[in-house]
C-alpha cells in the first residue's frame, strides 16, 4: 500500500475510536511535556551559567601571576619549576612580553584597592577596580544604565548596582551625572638614602592620603572579568586613571622587601585573548615563559560535563512518563486488534500482505506519537513559560533581576517529537506484529 493511502487509512482508523485514541495521544503528550519541561530546566540553567560566565568576560581571559605566589596559593607545597623556565617577576617587562604574544588582544594589570568614597557628605567604604578599555564590549556592560567611560583617562566612575543602592537606595539610577570624592592612599617612592639604609641598597615609599573627584557615568550589574567574592570591584574607574593614582595595593609590602623595591611589580595581569579557542595555546606559552597562568576554560569544561549528567538524569526522569504513556499505546492498539479483527481478515482477503497490516498499525502508532509529540512540546513549552514567569515573580519580590531558568531551544522541539514517534513505534511493535500474524480465516470468522 502506498504511504498516502496508509496515512489515510490510519487517520480514518484513529478517528473511529476518537475518545480512546485522543486519551492515549494525550498520555503521550503529557509524557513528552514532562520530558521537555525537565530538559528545558537543565538547558535553561546551563544557558544561565554559561551566559553569566560569558558576560563576565572570563572565557577569553587568562589570569597571570608570578609563579611563586601562585604555587603557594591555598597553602599548597611548592611545586618544582620546570628546568627550562625559571620563575619570572611580573613587572612592566613581563607585561610587554605578554602583550607581544600572538592572539593576545590586551594585557592589563589587576588594579584594585579598598578605599572610601564620599557622597552627599557621607563616607562609604568600597573596593575600587581599574577597568581596561578592551572590556567595553563585554556582556557585563550590555545592560548598563548610563554609558561607558568617555575616554581612557576620563575622571569618571561606573558603580556596581548593589553599591549604587547603598548610595541611593530608592533610585540608584539618579546617581548618573552626580559627583563623588574618591579618597585613597597614594604610594610615593622614597630615595634610598632617605630610607636610612643606603648600604643595604634598600629603598622605601611613603603613603600619602589623596582625593579625586569622579563623575558617575554608569551603573552596572557586575564587574566584568571578576570572579567575585570580597575583592570584587564596586566602583569602576578607567584603568589608566587607576594606574596614575598609584594607589597603595596589597603587594606593595612585598615589593618593599625585594632587592629592587623601586621596580614595581604586579600582583596579577589579565591577558585577554582574541577568542576562547586560543586560550589554551596562549596559556601554555605563558607558563613556558615562567609565569603561573589560570583560565576558566577548564572550569567551564567541567561545568559542561556536570550539566550533561544533569540533563541526562532529568531526561531519564522525564522519559519515565513517556514510557508509561507508551504502555497506553500498546493497550490501545491491542484493543484495536480485537475490535478490528474481522476488518484485518477482510483486508487480507482483499490482497493485503502481512507487512501492509503491520505498516498500518505502525502508522497509527506513529501518528499518535507525532500528535502526542506536538501537543507535548506545546504543553512543555507552556510549562517552561510558567516556570520562568513564577521565577521572575519570586525574584522580583526579592528585588532581584529576572532570569530565565528554563529554555526550550529548537533542537529540543525536534528531538522531543522524534523521540515521541520513536517510542510510539517501539510500543507499536508488539501490536503490529500480532495484527500481521492474524490468520485471515480465523479473523473472518470473528463476530
Amino acid at each position: 500500500m502506498k504511504a498516502r493511502d496508509l496515512m489515510d487509512l490510519a487517520a480514518r482508523n484513529l478517528r473511529e475510536a476518537l475518545l480512546r485514541n485522543s486519551l492515549t495521544t494525550l498520555g503521550i503528550g503529557v509524557g513528552v511535556a514532562s520530558l521537555v519541561a525537565m530538559l528545558s530546566l537543565g538547558v535553561g540553567l546551563q544557558n544561565l551559567a554559561t551566559e553569566r560566565l560569558s558576560r563576565s568576560g572570563l572565557f577569553n581571559a587568562i589570569f597571570v601571576t608570578p609563579r611563586t605566589s601562585f604555587d603557594n596559593f591555598g597553602g599548597r607545597a611548592e611545586r618544582p619549576s620546570p628546568p627550562e623556565a625559571a620563575a619570572q617577576p611580573l613587572d612592566e617587562d613581563a607585561r610587554h612580553k605578554l602583550a607581544a604574544l600572538p592572539n593576545v588582544d590586551d594585557v592589563y594589570p589587576d588594579i584594585r584597592f579598598p578605599t572610601e568614597i564620599r557622597y552627599a557628605g557621607n563616607p562609604y567604604p568600597t573596593v575600587v577596580a581599574g577597568v581596561a578599555p578592551s572590556t567595553r564590549n563585554d556582556g557585563a556592560f550590555e545592560d548598563m544604565k548610563g554609558a561607558f567611560f568617555s575616554g581612557p583617562s576620563a575622571d569618571e566612575a561606573i558603580l556596581q548596582i548593589e553599591f549604587a543602592r547603598r548610595l541611593s537606595p530608592q533610585q540608584p539610577d539618579s546617581l548618573l551625572g552626580q559627583e563623588i570624592v574618591l579618597r585613597y592612599a597614594e604610594r610615593q617612592a622614597l630615595p634610598p638614602d632617605s630610607a636610612g639604609d643606603k648600604a643595604a641598597g634598600a629603598a622605601g615609599f611613603s603613603i600619602v592620603p589623596r582625593e579625586k573627584r569622579l563623575r558617575i557615568v554608569g551603573v552596572v550589574e557586575t564587574e566584568p572579568g571578576a570572579i567575585g567574592g570580597v575583592g570584587r570591584g564596586r566602583l569602576l574607574i578607567p584603568l589608566e586613571v587607576a594606574e596614575t593614582l598609584r594607589a597603595a595595593q596589597t603587594n606593595d609590602l612585598r615589593d618593599l622587601l625585594r632587592d629592587t623595591p623601586s621596580k614595581r611589580t604586579y600582583e596579577s595581569l589579565t591577558v585577554r585573548v582574541k577568542g576562547a579557542s586560543q586560550v589554551k595555546g596562549v596559556e601554555e606559552t605563558i607558563k613556558q615563559l615562567g609565569f603561573a597562568a589560570f583560565s576558566l576554560l577548564d572550569a567551564s569544561r567541567n561545568l559542561s560535563v556536570v550539566f550533561a549528567v544533569f540533563d541526562l538524569l532529568l531526561g531519564i526522569f522525564g522519559s519515565l512518563a513517556l514510557v508509561v504513556a507508551s504502555l497506553g499505546i500498546v493497550n490501545t492498539l491491542v484493543m484495536a486488534i480485537l475490535e478490528r479483527r474481522r476488518e484485518i481478515g477482510v483486508l487480507k482477503a482483499l490482497g493485503a500482505a502481512d507487512r501492509d497490516v503491520r505498516r498500518l498499525f505502525f502508522t497509527e502508532a506513529a501518528v499518535m506519537g507525532l500528535l502526542g509529540g506536538i501537543s507535548g512540546v506545546l504543553l512543555g513549552w507552556l510549562i517552561e513559560r510558567a516556570i520562568n514567569f513564577a521565577t521572575s515573580v519570586y525574584l522580583s519580590r526579592q528585588q532581584l533581576p529576572a532570569i530565565k531558568v528554563a529554555a526550550v531551544p529548537w533542537w529540543m522541539v525536534v528531538v522531543a517529537i522524534a523521540f515521541s514517534i520513536a517510542v510510539s513505534l517501539a510500543a507499536g511493535i508488539y501490536p503490529a506484529s500480532r495484527a500481521a500474524r492474524l490468520d485471515p480465516v480465523e479473523a473472518l470468522r470473528y463476530e
Binding site: M1, R342, K348, A349, G351, A352, A353, D354, D356, L444
Partner: protein, 241 residues
C-alpha cells in the same frame, strides 16, 4: 469491463486444479479432516457450485482456493501456479489480483462509503489514484449501484450491500470469483438478483465462478457444475441434474 480485461478465460485452460488436496487441523484431541484427498479440476470460465451440509469442507476448500489457508498436504494450482509453494506475500498478491471474494456476511467496512469500500482492493494493489475512480465506477455500473456510491453500508439493504461486495470483488479484474454463501443472508428475491448478476458476470466476462452454497435449487438453476462434498471428500461431481 470486457472479457479482455480479465485474462483469457474459457479457452480450455484450467483455472483451479487440486491434487490429493488435504487440510487437517487439530481440535482438542481430535484430528479433523476438513478437506480430505480432494482432486478436481475447474476449467476457466466455468460456474461451479460447491454443495454440502455444514462441516462438509466446502468453505475450507474455498479458503484454500483463495489462498487464505494453506493445505496440510497435496497441491492446489491457480492458473498452474501451486499455491502451496507460495510465500505469504505471493499469496497476498494472488488474493489481490487473481481472486475476487464475496462473503455471506458481505464484510463491507461500515465506516467507509461504498465507493471507498470498492476502492479498497485498488489501494492495496497500489493502483494509481486517477485510475481508481474510473475502475470503481466501472465495477459499480456492472452491479448497477452507481447511485449509492456515497452511502455507507448501514444505509443500504442486504441486496445492495452484497452487490457492493460483488463490485469490490470485481474491481481488480480477477480471473476467478469465489463466493461463500453469497445469498445466505438474503431473502429469496434478492438472492435471485445476486445469482442473476453472478451468471451475467460469468457469461459476459467469462469469469470462473466457484460458489459455496447449501441451496441446491439455486445451484442447479445457475451453475454449470455441481460438486457435492461430505466429510471433506467429493461425493459427486457433475453437471446440473
Amino acid at each position: 469491463m470486457t472479457s479482455a480485461n480479465i485474462g483469457n478465460p474459457g479457452n480450455g485452460r484450467i483455472a483451479i486444479r487440486t491434487d490429493h488436496l488435504a487440510r487437517h487441523y487439530q481440535m482438542g484431541s481430535t484430528l479433523v479432516h476438513a478437506v480430505n484427498d480432494v482432486t478436481l479440476s475447474i476449467p476457466a470460465g466455468e460456474f461451479v457450485a460447491l454443495l454440502g451440509s455444514s462441516g462438509s469442507g466446502k468453505s475450507t476448500l474455498l479458503n484454500l482456493m483463495a489462498g487464505l489457508d494453506r493445505p496440510s498436504s497435496g497441491a492446489i494450482f491457480a492458473h498452474e501456479r501451486n499455491l502451496a509453494e507460495m510465500s505469504s506475500d505471493e499469496l497476498a498478491k494472488h488474493r489481490g489480483h487473481t481472486i475476487g471474494i464475496v462473503f455471506q456476511a458481505f464484510n463491507l467496512l461500515p465506516r467507509m462509503t461504498l465507493e471507498e469500500n470498492v476502492e479498497l482492493p485498488l489501494r492495496l494493489a497500489e493502483v494509481e489514484r486517477n485510475e481508481r475512480t474510473a475502475r470503481v465506477r466501472e465495477a459499480a455500473e456492472r452491479v448497477r449501484l452507481t447511485a449509492r456510491l456515497t452511502h455507507r453500508p448501514g444505509e443500504l439493504s442486504g441486496g445492495e450491500q452484497q452487490r457492493a461486495a460483488l463490485a469490490r470483488a470485481l474491481v481488480n479484474r480477477p480471473t476467478i470469483l469465489l463466493a461463500d454463501e453469497p445469498t445466505g443472508n438474503l431473502d429469496s428475491a434478492t438472492g435471485d438478483e445476486i445469482m442473476l448478476l453472478l451468471r451475467e458476470i460469468n457469461e459476459t466476462l467469462g469469469m470462473t465462478i466457484i460458489m459455496v452454497t447449501h441451496e441446491r435449487h439455486r445451484a442447479e438453476r445457475f451453475a454449470h457444475r455441481l460438486i457435492l462434498m461430505g466429510d471433506g471428500k467429493i461425493l459427486s461431481d457433475g453437471g446440473r441434474a
